[in-house]
Amino acid sequence: MTKRVLVVDDAIFMRNMIKDIFSGGGFEVVGEAANGLEAVEKYKELRPDLTTMDIVMPFKSGIEATREIIKQDSKAVIVMCSALGQESLVMEAIEAGASDFIVKPFKSEDVLSVVKKVLGEA
């Protein structure tokens, strides 16, 4: 069954890029969110198999959003999108319940390999 993905990032450019990677890798991107508030709402509504989460976003950070989503659904699989220099934030997100992380700049095969592993497909 095709896995359903929610992409959360405040930059349209990043969302598009991530969407392309997933579509090309056999995933179905079922929704997008541009901030943490939206992310929590969309997750509730869509219940995706996987969520990619930017860390620094307006209104509500990716870490906050992760914490709230995990509170609702402890089995939620969330992969943080981070950059070099955000190590401590990523660890905070892992504490909050994130399953894994990818580091920008992404290569599509790296992203796919990480999420496939997390979903137990590799």
């Binding site: 981070s82 070099l84 190590e87 401590s88 990523v90 660890m91 892992i94 504490e95 399953s99 894994d100 992380f101 580091v103 390999s113 990480v114 592993k117 997390v118 979903l119 137990g120």
Partner: protein
């Protein structure tokens, strides 16, 4: 890998020293029935760190031996009974073996493994496990069959895939070299393992990982979990960037939870993140350069004196400012050179323990005040003398357990090494509660050696007589062992202490022990010197060696057997003409002559000089070849005028 070698050697050595120190503490705790779990935990961490580092360096011989040591420590952790001296010996031998391998690896190909030692460790593990399985009483409430321990050397115990009772698993993870943030990966692994059970130990620790530290991109974790090793492996397989995952049973069953690691190592870890290691030579170089700066500043001031008055003022202001900056810099450089005494004293308990075992005695060495800091240059010199003093205490001071009991003392001898600051000095005391030294025996020994005459010996106070043990060849030891008793040691100890500008005192009473007091300066590089003129030459005498200086009418010097003597301090001191000692043409014989009274080899002596020029804080620079071969010269300094001045080593000057 080569560029990490230096760091590896220094860090691995630190850990191995730590391990040896812990071992001695462990033995004491075991003997006194104290809680020792935190000591075993600390030892485990040391062994573990060495293993990890060695593996990263591909020193498999070291890492496999460290691994065996870890096994034994793991077994000790679960072992409730007393710890035998044989086990401590074996672990100490292992530490020595590892140390030797590290040293070998530092300058050559990877050291080969030591299968014999590994085998001994494995046998000790098996014996310990047998002991706990067979003889240790089981709590009545433990139901169910106890799983047999895996045979020594087995890496994968047979395990059932279904979750059973919690047991301890050792998880080793290596993070792929391509991972840009290995510490975060490690953190994720730790978090995942935490979700499967209770993490009892992790190297690096969570705090290390949070600070971005993961040496060798390697994580070792002990976890108590009900999951089978396979399920743990499966869980970890969902994490990316792991190049190697090994999960194996770390014991027959989960041990009782360990006491939390003491706060100190964590604090030390935080400390080390803010410190850097610097090569000792670099520190010497800094000091040397600052010394040159001080000299150059003084020279500049001297030159300014020749300027016309109109310019002199501005020049002086500039020089004053420069002087203040250089002084500040000098203070900082000295502060950087300050090193805690612990660097040399921490290994002493272990040395004492080894020696005591060899001669069938028991000693307990207590250290205190070793956090006090002293110039590295002095510290470097102190290692051997302290070791020697300690050996003397164990070999000659402390009695055998039987003798001690007859004397009404506890069987375990006590040696204390304590340090304290007293203004600009560090006072180091080494005291034992052994049989003490007998001044009259020392007097007799010194006379027998021909070191002093019988009348001289009789005139010495008891306190002075005790110092006779510092004369070459004087010993009261009945038996000369390979350890001590040849009377060469104390002589060298006193010389070394004095060479760094310190003094040595001995207090002792027969039956109740000996106390050695070392008074040491905080730093050697800058010393107060007395400048004197001899003919056309100016030379310096270390103030520490000078008792006083007098100007007396030449005619008032008395003569004894043709040699001039000076009445000084209620006695007489022989007066030597410094010009003659130095091989300089004798100066004009004036009506008044200056005599410096200094400490010589066999007592006070007077040195006749042409003039006393004054006292100066001199930056001493060691002599280079061939000048260092000239007896009687100890260092050189440069005066503000640019003139080089030799500093004299008075005792050696007379001996020459």
């Amino acid at each position: 890998m080569g560029k990490y070698l230096g760091l590896f050697v220094s860090e691995a050595s630190d850990h191995l020293n730590g391990l040896a120190e812990d071992l001695v503490r462990l033995e004491r705790a075991s003997r006194q029935g104290e809680d020792r779990s935190h000591i075993v935990d600390s030892m485990f961490r040391h062994a573990h760190s060495v293993k990890g580092m060695a593996a990263s360096m591909q020193f498999d011989g070291i890492s496999s031996l460290a691994h065996r040591a870890e096994d034994l420590l793991g077994a000790l952790r679960r072992h409730a009974g007393p710890i035998s001296a044989e086990i401590v010996d074996l672990l100490l031998v292992t530490v020595d073996g590892l140390m030797a391998m590290v040293e070998k690896g530092s300058s050559g190909p990877p050291p080969p493994p030591d299968p014999m030692l590994a085998e001994r460790l494995a046998r000790a593990v098996a014996a310990l496990r047998q002991g706990t399985d067979g003889s240790a009483p089981l709590p009545a409430a433990t139901p169910g069959p106890r799983r047999r321990p895996p045979p020594a050397g087995a890496s994968e115990p047979a395990s059932t895939p279904t979750p059973g009772p919690a047991r301890r698993l050792a998880v080793e993870v290596e993070i792929a070299g391509s991972c840009p943030v290995p510490a975060v990966r490690g953190f994720l692994v730790l978090k995942k393992l935490g979700g499967l059970g209770a993490v009892v130990l992790s190297s690096p620790t969570v705090e290390d990982l949070k600070a971005g530290r993961i040496p060798g991109k390697r994580l070792d974790v002990l976890v108590d979990t009900a999951e089978a090793p396979q399920s743990v492996e499966r869980a970890l397989s969902q994490i990316s960037d792991l190049s190697r995952v090994v999960v194996r049973g770390a014991g027959p069953e989960a041990a009782p939870p360990m006491t939390p690691a003491p706060a100190r190592p964590e604090a030390a870890g935080a400390e080390s993140s803010r410190t850097v290691r610097v090569r000792a030579e670099l520190l010497d170089y800094f000091l040397d350069t600052v010394g040159e700066l001080i000299l150059a500043t003084a020279r500049l001031r001297e030159v300014g004196r020749a300027l016309p008055a109109t310019h002199r003022r501005t020049h002086e202001e500039g020089v004053d400012r420069l002087h203040a900056i250089v002084k500040d810099l000098h203070g900082k450089v000295m502060a950087v050179r300050m090193t805690p005494l612990a660097v040399v004293t921490d290994r002493l308990p272990r040395a004492a323990r080894d020696l005591a075992r060899k001669v069938g005695k028991q000693v307990d060495v207590q250290l205190s005040g070793t956090e006090i800091e002293i110039d590295r240059a002095i510290l470097d010199e102190l290692g051997d003398p302290l070791l020697h003093v300690l050996r003397n205490a164990v070999d000659h001071g402390i009695e055998s357990p039987a003798q001690r009991e007859r004397a009404g003392k506890p069987p375990v001898g006590r040696i204390s090494l304590s340090a304290r600051r007293d203004r600009d000095r560090v006072i180091l005391e080494v005291a034992d509660d052994g049989k003490g030294m007998d001044p009259s025996k020392l007097r007799a020994a010194a006379v027998a050696r021909g070191a002093i005459g019988p009348e001289q010996a009789a005139a010495l106070s008891d306190r002075e007589a005790l110092l006779l043990c510092c004369l070459p060849g004087v010993s009261t030891a009945d038996v000369v062992t390979d350890v001590s008793g040849r009377g060469v040691g104390m002589d060298a100890v006193k010389k070394t202490v004095e060479a760094v500008g310190g003094t040595l005192e001995i207090e002792s009473a027969p039956g109740s022990g000996t106390r050695l007091v070392l008074r040491l300066p905080l730093t050697v590089a800058v010393q107060a010197v007395l400048l004197v003129r001899v003919g056309e030459e100016v030379v310096g005498l270390p103030i520490a060696k000078v008792h006083g200086a007098v100007e007396v009418p030449t005619a008032s010097l008395e003569r004894s057997q043709g040699e001039p003597v000076l009445g000084y301090g209620g006695g007489h001191v022989p007066v030597h003409d410094l010009a003659r000692l130095l091989g300089l043409p004798p100066g004009p014989q004036g009506a008044v002559c200056s005599v410096v009274v200094a400490e010589g080899e066999g007592g006070r002596i007077g040195l006749g000089v042409d003039a006393l020029l004054g006292q100066e804080e001199a930056v001493l620079k060691p002599l280079a070849r061939p000048l260092n071969l000239v007896p009687g010269l100890s260092a050189v300094t440069v005066l503000g005028s640019g003139r080089p001045v030799f500093i004299l080593d008075v005792p050696r000057l007379l001996a020459a």
